[in-house]
Amino acid sequence: MSRSLKKGPYVAPSLQKKVTRSIESGSKQVIRTWSRRSMITPEFVGMTFHVHNGKLFVPVFVTENMVGHRFGEFSPTRKFTGHVGGKRIRTT
């Protein structure tokens, strides 16, 4: 058992608070968060989050497979629009 497992998953307290509130009220309100380092726990499944990427909020709909990953993984911070003179590959 690795040390990080012993310590348990990390969810920012601010985010956790928002999530519990949203579950209690049953509202489908999108949760905005800057906490890219928070781990996605099973209770987040089915919710939509707006995860900040340094510039804007990227909508992330949480599915079962995403559990155990972190929010930042789903909100890319870099945008590659291709090289000068190269073939134009559009990316978002």
Binding site: N65, M66, G72, F74, P76, G85, G86
Partner: protein, 127 residues
Amino acid sequence: MARISGIDLPRNKQIGIALTYIRGLGRTSAAKICETAGIAPDTKTDVLADGEVVRLREIIEREYKVEGDLRRETTQNIKMLMDIGCYRGLRHRRGLPVRGQRTHTNARTRKGPAKTVAGRKSATTKK
């Protein structure tokens, strides 16, 4: 002729080595398999009795994921990463290194042979 998980084992190698010709088995797991089967890992494959081969086959089938199954699992995992749209999945999609390596130079294993960019002066001397 010993045939395990669809692979012909090399005849004149020690079984501890011969098992590593199966995808998914390395030296460590091969040694463990030999131990559970009660076969000395330095026996040559040719010398193995049929019963011993059967025992090896059973252990591998029961406890290890090898060859096709293993390959399938790996591609499935990669596909899952791509489907959930996480960073690692994006890197797989674009054929770039997944684990944070530099791409300014190198990364040729993932990117394939270098493509020369037209119009760039003395690209070879630059770096």
